[in-house]
Symmetry: C2
Amino acid sequence: MASYKRSSSPFLKIAKKFNCFYINGLPKRHCKPFVVEGHQVGLVRPDIMVELLRYPEVFIVRPDSVELNPAFRDFDERTARVEQVLQECRANNTFVTLKGWRNECYNVHSVLTDPPLLRMDRSATCLFGIRNYGVTINGFVHDSNKGLCLWMQRRSPTKETWPGKWDNMVSGGLSVGYGVIETAIKEAQEEAGIPENMLKDIRPSGAVSFFFESERGLFPNTEYVFDLKLPCEFTPKNNDGEVETFDLLSINELKELIASPDFKTTSLPIVIDFLVRHGVISPETEPNYAQLLELLHVPLQTIYHRAAPSENGDKGL
Amino acid sequence: MASYKRSSSPFLKIAKKFNCFYINGLPKRHCKPFVVEGHQVGLVRPDIMVELLRYPEVFIVRPDSVELNPAFRDFDERTARVEQVLQECRANNTFVTLKGWRNECYNVHSVLTDPPLLRMDRSATCLFGIRNYGVTINGFVHDSNKGLCLWMQRRSPTKETWPGKWDNMVSGGLSVGYGVIETAIKEAQEEAGIPENMLKDIRPSGAVSFFFESERGLFPNTEYVFDLKLPCEFTPKNNDGEVETFDLLSINELKELIASPDFKTTSLPIVIDFLVRHGVISPETEPNYAQLLELLHVPLQTIYHRAAPSENGDKGL
């Protein structure tokens, strides 16, 4: 009887890498939902819980959840009380991720379309397994010689996260106050100097969801994906100092690069999704095709299922 | 605080319809894995279990599984012993689904790429929640007036399942001995009379997975999806008597049709996936975009996770 191990393809191996928490951590670790105002907004690992127990006036560790003190009245009070704990942890070197304090906040929502419940520094959200949303643009070209090609960037060596790694042409976190397509367009201009007229045909092409874990913490990521066909003569040009270089890769070059350790792990699902949608990865060549598709869309909504009290019988699905 | 109910879009409503078991049945019913030779190949509802208890020499109902008697030696013996039970149930009118006995079998696999463990009549697989695999071709046209259009078929009123309902242009179950693309091409010729030269640009475009339930039983479905751009002047023509008519629909006509009860429920995910990949459904217009994407790819692999004994530490993911 064949086992998955025997028939594992390079793409499935990659999908297991960016889903290391979904596959290995989630079934084994005894993580607890992080609950704010009755909504599950995160997931807390046992090793983080131990530290939070030292702040019982802020975090209430229950048998089946870690709850932010419900006595806090509003967004501002929640934000301030959590910030206070984080700054103390930072001063004490409690968590490695806080060494990379960003002075840039992410909002914490129960549902992305709802008003935020609090905000916290980007470096801290992985401690609580807060869901993270981003956008990526696949910039592709139909080259008369090399066929389908994709623009890739090499991240600046001074970037806080994944310095020097290869990455998709354009990507960015969803910023407060910006819509999804708006963020994509803003990033395309800043990160790759793409002029407005080339951006009018940008096409929303789906979303990938995956659950990664690193030494820093938990990363339940959802990435909105856009395809953008670029003219052959165009070359991306960075405007914000975050990119070392851009390179146009053929499909074969790309396959080699994503199998190497030089590619940012959490950007890989977007490349694989692109190769699937454009027919490069097909059910004929990929024995684990259906499984691969599932690992590009892991059920974060179901994992973060603790429903709002008002959602009677409609539990977050 | 907004709830999902309030922000529910028409597409999310449809996705909940074709995932009625994933959303409502799976968390609430006490279904047990159906195990053959140590592999989970299905899921059995309590009401089905009660009937299977009458055949203890064939089905062993344990606290956490329903197992096919492991004493059966091979494919042939397993197939014959299950067939015997099914024929008795059919004669006794035990299960409504067996009224539609097909005299056409599906193989039962632990993994699609592995040799089959047994086979059973198509009408019976939903009793055991056996995973079902199919192919669908989206035949689309870029019309100079109506823009992006999709060919749809109305199923023949004499079809065993979903008679007279609207459906995708071409679809079919994966037949024994045929590959995925091979099945797609065979069905395209038989069902819609598409000539070989038009099929050379058929593009594998992903797969959708969903978990539907009807009065007949459980349907964990994975559908391999193909896109095929057709010339404006071409009209599909049925060759096997299974189609009443074909119609070319604009995106607005299509949106209306899929919201109506006239569309085959289990074909809806393929339409929604097409609309997502082609940018018609976008994060700007669809407040539940990420959730919708998840419901097009529910984690059947994880739900059917009972690993083969050989897959040490690599539990079916």
